[in-house]
Symmetry: C2
Subunit: 248 residues, 2 copies
Amino acid sequence: MGQSPYIDRNSFEPAYSQLANILRGQMAEGVFLPGSRLPSESQLCQKYKVSPMTVRRSINLLADQGTVSTSQGRGTFVKPLDLGEFTFQLQEFQNLFKDKNSTKANLLEVRIVSADPVIASHIDINTGDRAIYMRRLITKEGSPALYHQEYLMYDPTLPIVEDEMEVTSLHGLFTGTSETNIKKGKLTFKATALKKEEARLLESRMNTPAFNLEHIFYNFDNKPISWGWFIIRGDLLSFTTTVGIWDE
Amino acid sequence: MGQSPYIDRNSFEPAYSQLANILRGQMAEGVFLPGSRLPSESQLCQKYKVSPMTVRRSINLLADQGTVSTSQGRGTFVKPLDLGEFTFQLQEFQNLFKDKNSTKANLLEVRIVSADPVIASHIDINTGDRAIYMRRLITKEGSPALYHQEYLMYDPTLPIVEDEMEVTSLHGLFTGTSETNIKKGKLTFKATALKKEEARLLESRMNTPAFNLEHIFYNFDNKPISWGWFIIRGDLLSFTTTVGIWDE
DNA sequence: AAGTGGTCTAGACCACTAT
DNA sequence: TAGTGGTCTAGACCACTTT
């Protein structure tokens, strides 16, 4: 353990990144224990022959990653494990859409509906106004992976039906390649159990554990224009994350 | 809309943060549309009278937040909405533990067990070796919120029982205040349905949707010393996140 | 060749904390 | 008062992309 802990000026890896890795490695080896203070920034400047800004950037990197915490006037400290700060990236969820070839979105139904109060409260319309209702089944290599339902605002003055169907064309939304009029979205993740229709479509049994990913999308006028949710079988998906000091 | 978009040198907010907010505001207003290029860094330097490093830091901030993407030699671009990159912070989960007063961890059972192959494969021991098994019920304001089961490595040469019970004393783990010998952990999040015993303890019904948060913790020798999981009723917890450009 | 982002320097000044 | 982190400057040089 412990390669010569100095910065290689000829490396492709930037100095700030090298220094961050050196410090992380020392924390992983127990050179700096949780709760203890790191050398001051000026000391690090001298030891590693880099400028203050570069040290600063290394420390900021480690602080962003939750490895250390800084306190003005006191110093930089190794952070103890904190389960309260972990985050999950839904990379696994995204991967369901990554390769356009094996993933297909089958449109099960599109129709104009009259908005009930629940729908009207989610997308910015009045009860009784018309809305577009869509159902999709997304298959991965032939077998069903996701069930999607969505309500869209309907504006007769615009060719929205076609547009919005493209907007929510899932590949674009999940790879950031769609040119949309969507400004922002809110996503909510819940645990659920498959209902009868959901179980049928996803080729599973009723009450099977599943995830529900609800979404609301807003246009550039900050009006909610889409409300819907994905249902994913629980056995097809799980999320993993790490906390603490990982050196590999 | 659009306060005079210049940097206030007397503000408590740092210049790099002010500039990032100005740019984010302009993107939110549609001044820069998704996919389009932002002014170059040198142009921003001139317009806002700040040094290149300060502009750089603003751009890095926005890039870290997923609002823009940079491409060397080409420019900085407004990122279209990308569902593939959203992350969930389990803030809501942490909040279950935040105030020590209303949250209590009741130890239901502690005993020494002989490790079966499944247990042995998760914590670094051999089948038949002894391990500590613990069950806890965490209550929030009197009503059950979480059920926790855990297997811990047993080392007769150390007073581990008491130590580890303290180590995993949940408040410390969730607030980063415990002085532990835990270096890192891996967490996995699954959808599940309550089993009979779980339903009884959580005062719910069998097959109710629930979350399972599995954990493995490692010591500074990189050996897994703890394997366990939390069961949370689905109706007590959901996770919300946002994507795209939020200006408020 | 010109323009872009990416890294880095060698200082400066400030706010805060400890002694 | 001395030491710490936090911000910022006014440049420099490099790698990359476009024209």
